[in-house]
């Protein structure tokens, strides 16, 4: 019904710029896939190749099992929501939504039924005879979605649809899109640079960087086991702390050592490091701000997991407080409870949750764990 398969897809622009390199993905019917990455990572290009707006340089694209490389966009049974909505300014909301059906020669009653149904679903009933210029940002967004819905395509494509909205509206629309997916049960491919959108919406996330797929997985998989430094840094807010240092053994213990930090790995992680031969080597050590705690709340914590530093910056955001702590020569971001008052320049004892740390190879940038 709505499966999409991308096999070894490459996109090389005139002039030799390769936007997408060897992209492979099998999207199942009814799946919500989010392509995420910084700007210029090739995520939009990939989406546009699926849409047929961009030629595929090499590789194969199957939609519903049919090879679609050279099928024009109007024959692919897909609908797309554009970043700037791309509503026809000269048509009313109704005509905007009906246009795709009209072009496909649906009969008038069917068009009317579908448009009204979509309008009800999106709360657009009262603005049907307005022009896009007379709508608010959120309403325009909904019209753009409505225009896609009425076509009842097998695949929906979203190209950064929420990036033009203000923060509050964005989170509201995010929820609505999530609900919409549950309701429509249609394959959706969604492109964004906002990791929060990716995390909240996706069944599976594809993280891209410089046209190369970094990792494919469910939001939790990606959050908990990022495959590369890039993924680890990109997913999660505030981003993961990275510290360069050395893996050393002290008796039975395997420790991570660098300026101001000397912590002991848990046995299973230590075993893995030993097995893969990282002992004595330089690595990049990663830990998320929320896995760092104040020792006040963990008085019984082992000295092996404690790091001492001086508070550099205090950023209270209400629900929690972010601290930048200088530990030796490194700066560590930590998330603390908002109930505690933190003072600049004060010394602080931090406890690392060593169950949740990551180690990355320094040359391949890939995760050891």
């Amino acid at each position: 019904m709505g499966s999409v398969v991308l096999k070894n897809i490459n996109k090389v622009y005139e002039g030799g710029v390769q936007a997408v390199k060897d992209f492979n993905l099998e999207i199942e019917d009814r799946e919500f896939i989010v392509l995420v990455g910084p700007s210029g990572c090739g995520k939009s290009t990939t989406l546009r190749m699926v849409a047929g707006l961009e030629e595929i340089s090499s590789g194969e694209l199957y939609i519903d099992g049919k090879l679609c490389n050279h099928v024009p966009p109007q024959d692919r049974n897909i609908a797309m929501v554009f970043q700037n909505y791309a509503l026809y300014p000269h048509k009313t909301v109704y005509d905007n939504m009906a246009f795709g059906l009209k072009m496909r020669k649906f009969d008038r009653d069917e068009i009317d039924k579908r448009v009204k149904q979509a309008a009800d679903m999106l709360g657009l009933r009262h603005v049907l005879d307005r022009k896009p210029a007379a709508l608010s940002g959120g309403q325009r967004q909904r019209v753009a979605v409505g225009r896609a819905i009425v076509r009842q395509p097998s695949v929906f494509l979203f190209d950064e649809p929420l990036s033009n909205l203000d923060a509050k509206l964005r989170s509201q629309m995010r929820t609505e899109l999530s609900k919409l997916h549950t309701r429509l049960q249609t394959t959706m491919i969604y492109v964004t640079h906002d990791q929060l959108e990716a995390m909240t919406l996706a069944d599976r996330i594809v993280v891209l960087k410089d046209g190369i797929t970094q990792q494919v997985g469910t939001p939790l998989e990606i959050y908990e086991n990022p495959a590369t430094i890039f993924v680890a840094g990109f997913i999660g807010s505030p981003p993961m702390n990275f510290v360069r240092g050395r893996v050393e053994t002290a008796g039975e213990a395997v420790r991570f050592k660098t300026s101001g930090i000397d912590v002991r790995f848990t046995p299973d992680k230590a075993k893995k490091l030993q097995e893969e031969g990282y002992v004595g080597k330089e690595v990049i050590f990663g830990i998320r701000p929320q896995e760092i705690h104040d020792r006040i709340f963990f008085p019984e914590a082992s000295e092996d997991h404690v790091v001492r530093g001086i508070i550099d910056v205090v950023e209270p955001v209400g629900s929690e407080t972010f601290l930048q702590v200088s530990v030796g020569e490194n700066l560590i971001m930590a998330r603390m409870s908002a109930s505690e008052k933190y003072v600049l320049e004060r010394e602080l004892e931090l406890v690392f949750n060593m169950d949740r740390v990551h180690v990355f190879d320094i040359s391949t940038e890939r995760a050891v764990f």
């Binding site: 707006l53 109007q74 970043q83 700037n84 509503l87 246009f99 496909r104 210029a133």
Partner: protein, 440 residues
């Protein structure tokens, strides 16, 4: 602080008033020729003369000297044939008025003076200078019958108490008889010199539509030459047809080419685009003769196709459309394509409606240019039947005479289509100005 604010407000006000005055002045300057055209078109008998300084209103009231004082004479010519030629007024260079009257034996009280110079005066006075006691003042009362050449007037002698007044006076037969006798009694004096001060004409004109009627008149002969529309109607129809058709083709071809140049991806796009632009640098005079030859070869001389074919599209219009369409977001076209539009549908359903402002501008420009075009039709068209309005207007002016009234009436009518085009399309032009720089 407050005072300063007041001062600032005042300055602002003065600036605004000054600006408005300047704008009004500009507008007035622009309107002067227009007003002259309308005024002249409604002036009676404006055909044969173009006054200097120009007259600014079709209505007039006041005195104007026809013959100067010095050397003006009245000749009494005596009997000639069956008629009695009584008087001839001469301003020194030519005869300006004369009067004939067949006198019945003993009839002396009425003298008819025929002033042939013009039918445009409803009253002429002849004033005698010098000893007013001895030489009575004479007033001429024209019995104007419009359209007839034999406008006549009566000479009447004024009694002293009425001398300074103007108007038509019926005098006692005795007084009149005395004056007429005075003239008739000196037939031998050739030319009997009457010390005429001046002949003054009193004009009283009202605006008239006679010129328009004259222009729009369709005679039987016209029908034979020009068809049922008559001469002016034919010119008009030719012009509207040519300009209208060319406007449509220009809008169509220019927007189509503009779409291709702005959004199409094809080999040599830039090269072709600059090629089109380059043709704008070639002056029309250079291509005039080759195109003329071409039209002669195709045997299209003296036909409207000679005006239409060379102007079907234009580089400037293509340029204008390209620049405008380039600014339209690509995603609109992509959305349309995903909505199932063919390339043609994208053009028709998205590009054309969104290009309305630029198409309106181009439409006005093209229509104006083609409707006013003179040189090219002058070269291509000799046949009366296929002349366009600008050529037709020129025929009102010949080597020695110019029918200004008719010409201006025709010009005034010929403005109508331009006004209509402008009024219909201006809202798009203004809209486009208002929308410029706004993100959509």
């Amino acid at each position: 602080m407050n005072e300063e604010g007041e001062l600032h407000k005042l300055e602002k006000k003065i600036r605004s008033i000054a600006l408005h005055l300047l704008l009004l002045l500009g507008a007035a300057t622009m309107l002067v020729p227009f007003w002259w055209m309308v005024s002249t078109s409604m002036t009676e008998n404006a055909n044969s003369e173009l006054s200097n300084p120009p007259r600014w209103t079709p209505w007039r009231s006041g005195n104007r000297a026809l013959a100067s004082a010095s050397g003006a004479t009245v000749k009494v010519l005596g009997k000639k044939g069956g008629e009695t030629v009584v008087a001839l007024l001469n301003d020194g260079r030519r005869d300006v008025a004369w009067a004939t009257r067949r006198l019945q034996p003993g009839e002396t009280e009425v003298l008819l003076l025929d002033v042939g110079i013009s039918t445009m005066f409803d009253r002429v006075e002849i004033l005698f200078p010098g000893n007013a006691e001895k030489l009575p003042k004479v007033a001429l009362d024209f019995c104007v019958e419009k359209g007839k050449w034999d406008t006549t007037a009566r000479i009447v002698a004024l009694p002293r108490e009425l001398r300074e007044k103007r108007g038509v006076f019926l005098l006692a037969p005795r007084v009149r008889a005395r004056f007429i006798k005075m003239i008739l009694e000196n037939p031998g004096a050739s030319p009997a010199r009457f010390f005429l001060a001046e002949i003054r004409a009193h004009e009283q004109l009202k605006p008239t539509l006679a010129n328009y009627k004259e222009v729009l008149k369709v005679t039987e002969r016209d029908k034979e030459i020009y068809g049922f529309l008559g001469r002016f109607g034919r010119y008009y129809a030719n012009s509207v047809f040519v300009a209208g058709l060319l406007t449509l083709t220009n809008l169509f071809f220019c927007s189509l080419a503009g779409y291709a140049f702005a959004k199409g991806r094809f080999l040599g796009r830039e090269f072709l685009f600059y090629g089109v632009l380059a043709t704008m640098m070639v002056p029309g005079q250079v291509t005039m003769i080759p195109v003329y030859k071409l039209m002669t070869n195709w045997k299209l001389l003296d036909s409207l196709w000679a005006l239409i074919l060379p102007g079907l599209t234009g580089a400037y219009g293509v340029f204008l459309c390209t620049q405008f369409i380039r600014a339209l977001p690509d995603s609109l076209m992509e959305a349309a394509r995903m909505d199932g539009c063919s390339e043609w549908r994208v053009y028709w359903e998205v590009i054309v409606p969104l290009s309305k402002p630029v198409l309106a501008t181009l439409g006005i420009l093209t229509f104006l240019f083609q409707f006013n075009s003179f040189l090219w039709p002058l070269i291509m068209i000799n046949d009366e039947k296929w002349k366009t309005l600008p050529l037709g207007l020129a025929t009102y002016r010949q080597q020695y005479t110019a029918e200004w009234g008719n010409m201006m009436a025709a010009a005034a009518i010929s403005i109508i289509p331009i006004l209509i085009v402008f009024i219909v399309l201006q809202k798009y032009v203004i809209k486009s100005m208002a929308h410029a720089g706004m993100k959509e």
